[in-house]
Symmetry: C2
Subunit: 136 residues, 2 copies
DNA sequence: CAGGATCCTTCTAGATACTG
DNA sequence: CAGTATCTAGAAGGATCCTG
C-alpha cells in the first residue's frame, strides 16, 4: 500500500491521540510537535539532513538566523534527541552537529510536509490573496 | 518505492527550497510551514480531518482552547485555504467548519509527522530526560 | 450560537556586547 | 570558533466582558 494514502482509521487514531483522554496538556503528539514549532527547527533539521555542519557553517548557511537562535535551536533539537553535538578539542575548538538516528527518522516524516509546502506554496498564496481581497 | 524512503536528491531539493536564493525571508516552504506553527493549528486540522464540526462542537472537543484562539486559528486556517467556513442562516446562527481539498491534501502530508510523533513520543521523552540529567 | 473587543501576561526572537 | 549574558521589542496566547 502506498504510504501516502491515508485511511480513516489512522485519521481517527491520530485525532484520538491528539485529543483523547481528556488530558490535552500532556498529549504525546502535541508534546513532540511543539518541539518542532520553533521558527528555525525545520530549517536546521533540513540542513543537517543533508550533511553534518559546524556552528559557523550553519551561520553562513542560514544568514538571517541570529547566533542566539542558532545556539538555542540546536540545543533544543539536541535535547529532544534529534541532533548529536560533537566537540573536537582543537584550537580553537570546533563543534560538529549531525542528525541522530531519531533525527533522521523524524525528518523522514517531516519531509512529507516540507515537500507538500514546496509543491503547494502557490495555492496557499493564492488562497490568502483571495481571502484578503474578499475581506476588504 | 516506499514513500517513506528518502533519497539524497529530494533532501537536497528541500534544503535548497528552504535556504536557496539568498532570499530566506520569502522562502516558500518556510512561509507555508509558518502558518502551521501555531499551538492549535495541527490539532484543529486533525479534528476537522475526521469530520466537519461546528464552532461549539470544536470548543467542547478541545476544552483547553480559549474561544479567542479557536476563532483566530480557524480564521488563519481559512485564510491559508485549508478550512472552509459555511454559515447556516438559522436562528441562532450555526457555522460549520470543514477541510477544503487543499486542507485534506495538506493533512495527508502533515499526518506522517503526527503519526511519527505518536509512535516515537517515548524516545523523545527519554532523550529529554537523559539530556536534562546529564546537564545537572 | 458564534463570535468581537479589550486587557494583560508570557513566550519568542532579535540586537548587542563579551569570553574560553 | 563557538559560544554566553543581558536587554528589549513584538508576537502569541489567555481571561473576561459584550453582542447580533
Amino acid at each position: 500500500m502506498d504510504s501516502t494514502v491515508i485511511n480513516l482509521k489512522s485519521k481517527l487514531e491520530i485525532y484520538k491521540a491528539m485529543t483523547g483522554g481528556g488530558n490535552l496538556a500532556d498529549c504525546p503528539v502535541r508534546d513532540v510537535i511543539q518541539g518542532l514549532n520553533g521558527k528555525w527547527s525545520s530549517l536546521l533539521t533540513a540542513a543537517l539532513a543533508e550533511q553534518p555542519y559546524r556552528f559557523g557553517e550553519l551561520r553562513r548557511l542560514v544568514p538571517d538566523i541570529s547566533q542566539r537562535m542558532l545556539t538555542q535551536t540546536l540545543h533544543e533539537l539536541q535535547r529532544d534527541g534529534y541532533v548529536h553535538r560533537e566537540v573536537f578539542p582543537t584550537k580553537p575548538p570546533s563543534v560538529e552537529y549531525s542528525l541522530t538516528d531519531l533525527g533522521r527518522s523524524m525528518f523522514g516524516a517531516l519531509q512529507h510536509l516540507l515537500q507538500w509546502a514546496e509543491l503547494n506554496h502557490d495555492a496557499v498564496r493564492e488562497a490568502r490573496k483571495e481571502f484578503d481581497t474578499a475581506q476588504a
